[in-house]
């Protein structure tokens, strides 16, 4: 048992770190640190820098641009990227639909889509949730009826993140209304420019527009856009959701946020002392740091197990990553809000969204994003299977209850 990285892994970490330092555009890095809005252009620009380096899709099969890195190196890469801090890769493409196409798509689909995903020539969004199908995803009602060489899609998806930018959407649709819930579902790739698709924004409590409703009204989708077999879509969705093991806890991001928290707590004052010297406040920070250290160790155990080829059987430790990771991120966002005290209250969306705003901020120039982020980050324990659903899964799959 040994905590240290091998010389090769340590050298790799240094290489990655220095690449990020030299190549992450400063304006993007600054927005990340300050918690300001990262736009489509920022995400695309960064992804193309990575793609040029050959690091766009490290975890993919080598023939489609993967790097062949060990699980440990993949972990180091993501951790360093989160700490840089760089924008996270657009997960709907590289993390979700890409691996599904690699595993279950045909050659034509691979050739057509994969290189464009890696370079974000196509912006992808995810059409899973529906108004009546959240945690009970398999109850979804959007239908796809085979008519000649097409499926005709009707229904509604919701909580579709960044659909306003999307060129494509991957959807779970019901192709067999007769069979039981999980059977009868197919995995379709749909061009967002197809007639009959309407995107309507949903504003979230922080005031931002991340998510949307997407309506399908007699949308004709060519049958070649079916992934794998008809009525096997649920299996592919499970593969997709179980795919992410190394980034889900977002330990690197939380480390970066804690550093930011300490930086700001050293500037803010309570009485004649910096807030960071306030016993109650610093103890709260230390408590979340310890939780995070434990999570980092748990994450490393999962990564090491994957490296040793035990990655396919469920590791009890990996189930904890999403739940604990979300709780920690939420705690940190709450402390970051608390740092500025009453100056968390002025609501200044233009200070968050427009990085060339001329107006001076109200209060400290770092305050504006903190309260909105606290409210926005409540989503982390809801999306991708709420923490309660995660606990149901653990209870069943690991505890046998």
């Amino acid at each position: 048992m040994d905590l240290r990285f091998t010389d090769e892994e340590a050298a790799f970490r240094d290489e990655v770190r220095s690449f990020f330092k030299q190549n992450l555009p400063e304006n993007i890095r600054r927005k990340m640190v300050e918690g300001k809005k990262i736009g489509k252009d920022d995400i695309v620009a960064w992804q193309r820098i990575l793609n040029k380096k050959g690091w766009a899709v490290p975890h993919w099969a080598k023939e489609w641009g993967g790097t062949g890195w060990s699980p440990v190196k993949q972990y180091i890469f993501l951790d360093e990227m989160q700490q840089a801090p760089a924008p996270p890769p657009l997960q709907f493409g590289v993390q979700m639909v890409g691996p599904v196409i690699i595993a279950f798509g045909n050659e034509a689909q691979k050739k057509k889509f994969l290189p464009r995903i890696a370079n974000i020539d196509d912006w992808w969004c995810q059409g899973f949730s529906e108004p009546g199908s959240g945690s009970d995803l398999a109850s979804l009602k959007t239908t796809a009826k085979r008519v000649g060489g097409h499926y005709v899609v009707n229904g509604q998806k919701t909580w579709t993140t960044l659909a306003q930018y999307a060129d494509w959407i991957f959807c779970l649709v019901r192709t067999d209304p007769e069979s039981k819930k999980q059977q009868g579902i197919s995995f379709l790739l749909i061009d967002m420019k197809t007639p009959g698709i309407t995107v309507r924004p949903i504003q979230t409590i922080d005031g931002s527009r991340e998510v949307n409703e997407v309506f399908f009204d007699d949308v004709k989708v060519p049958v070649e856009n079916l992934v794998g077999e008809e009525n096997k879509g649920w299996d592919y969705a499970k593969f997709l959701l179980g795919n992410e093991r190394f980034g889900i806890a977002r330990v690197g991001l939380s480390k970066e946020r804690i550093r930011r928290l300490k930086e700001l707590a050293a500037i803010e004052r309570v009485g004649d002392r910096p807030l960071i010297e306030d016993e109650r406040f610093r103890t709260k920070i230390a408590a979340v740091e310890i939780e995070l250290k434990a999570l980092e160790m748990t994450q490393l155990r999962v990564v090491a197990a994957a490296r040793n080829g035990r990655g396919n059987k469920p590791d009890p430790a990996s189930s904890i990553l999403k739940i604990k990771g979300s709780e920690i991120q939420q705690t940190i966002s709450e402390l970051l809000f608390e740092v500025v005290g009453p100056y968390g209250l002025p609501y200044q969306p233009s200070q968050i969204e427009d990085d060339r705003v001329n107006e001076p901020p109200i209060g400290p120039d770092y305050a504006a994003p903190l309260a909105p982020t606290f409210f926005n980050w409540r989503k982390i324990s809801i999306y991708g299977g709420s923490n309660e659903i995660q606990k149901n899964i653990i209870a069943k799959a690991i505890l046998g209850l």
Partner: protein
């Protein structure tokens, strides 16, 4: 980076676990508790036969040359079996003092005896007023020819009433809470002027209050450099905390297993109570707390040999915070989920709960270490 056990370590784990499965049933444990000193001398001998008493000592001293991870493996197994024997007191704490500060002669005469099970030691360091401050030593050691005379009182000496010899801290200079001026001595538990008042602790183990009045120690009983002992004590206590973290993980594992089994077998309203989601989620919360604790116990073991004392201490203290919090949570939830049966002395789970609670208190509880880490600036540097 590696979290796997080596082949040797796997064998060590298996052999200790096998012994304890055979010899540490609940009724057997209850019987051992009633023996003099509150533990089984026969089992102690078997630990010696397995080599675990020699484990952390250097080979040239008659040990096996194992590291903190090996101790972690043993302690986790001892935690699973809820053992009563003075492994922590003798091998990790007092033995740790000998390893880090004992003279060649002291090591040569004592370690082989520890290793073969013939010598029980205890560390008499804390005092009534010291709480968790390792520098708060009021017991005095005054020069007396080539040796010293000790006067004072030591409290919560783990296994102090079963020990043949005591490793005692006392002040040769300065005042309580000074970092300098502390020395360590080896005395016979039956030496003139030593009075030992043994008692059971809430977890079923043993401790003692030790009074020292005019206890004479010869030069050969001085351990390390007088006045400079605090660093040794801090190191040994860090190692002790790392060991306790592993023990607690073993105990938490068992509490979780017992609880999940109970949820599957206990029926109410016509179904196993494990069908109820509120209980399922509580069992998942126990699993998470246990796994987070396991992760930190591993960190503690791997950092126990870290040469930078500040980094070593911070990591182990952080682990102790996690273990304290996880242990209490798992213990309370296990008791709650068992309902009435969890409240009874005749059922195991409550004994595990008491042990993990005691572990939280020993050498500083979660609040103590959390505040200390916060005061040191936390674990991560500011941006």
């Amino acid at each position: 980076m590696d979290f796997e056990l080596s082949e040797e370590q796997r064998l060590l784990k298996q052999s200790v676990e096998r012994l304890l499965v055979d010899r540490y049933g609940f009724e057997q444990r209850t019987a051992y508790m009633k023996a003099p000193g509150g533990f089984s001398r026969a089992l102690w001998k078997q630990y010696a036969d397995l080599g675990v008493l020699a484990l952390p000592f250097a080979e040239e001293d008659g040990g096996i040359g194992g590291g903190a991870v090996d101790v972690m493996i043993v302690m986790e197994a001892l935690g699973r079996a809820l053992v009563l024997e003075p492994y922590l007191a003798t091998v990790v704490l007092a033995g740790g003092v000998l390893r880090h500060a004992g003279s060649q002669a002291q090591r040569a005469s004592l370690i082989p005896k520890i290793a073969d099970g013939g010598l029980i030691l205890a560390l008499a360091h804390a005092e009534r007023q010291s709480r968790y401050d390792l520098a708060d030593v009021a017991t005095t050691a005054k020069r007396d020819g080539a040796g010293y005379v000790l006067d004072g009182a030591k409290g919560l000496v783990l296994h102090g009433d079963g020990a043949d010899k005591l490793v005692v801290s006392a002040r040769v200079a300065g005042k309580p809470r000074d970092r300098d001026g502390i020395a360590l001595f080896l005395i016979d538990a039956k030496a003139s002027g030593v009075s030992v008042r043994g008692y059971p602790t809430i977890d079923g183990l043993r401790a003692a209050e030790v009074t020292l009045s005019g206890v004479k120690v010869g030069a050969e009983g001085v351990i390390g450099e007088p006045g400079k002992a605090l660093a040794v004590i801090e190191r040994v206590v860090d190692e002790g905390m790392a060991a306790l973290c592993a023990e607690a993980v073993g105990a938490m594992e068992v509490m979780h297993e017992l609880t999940v089994d109970y949820l599957k077998t206990r029926r109410q309203f016509g179904v196993p109570i494990g069908n109820f989601q509120v209980l399922q989620h509580a069992a998942v919360d126990m699993l998470m707390a246990t796994e987070q604790a396991r992760s930190m116990a591993m960190l503690a073991a791997m950092m126990a040999e870290e040469p930078n004392a500040v980094e070593r201490h911070k990591s182990i203290a952080a682990a102790k915070v996690q273990i304290g919090r996880s242990g209490r949570f798992v213990g309370k939830t296990a008791t709650q989920l068992h309902g009435g049966i969890g409240m009874t002395m005749e059922y195991k789970v409550g004994h595990y709960f008491k042990r993990v609670t005691a572990i939280d208190v020993l050498f500083g509880d979660a609040d103590h270490h959390l505040a200390a880490i916060a005061k040191m600036g936390g674990l991560l540097a500011a941006a």
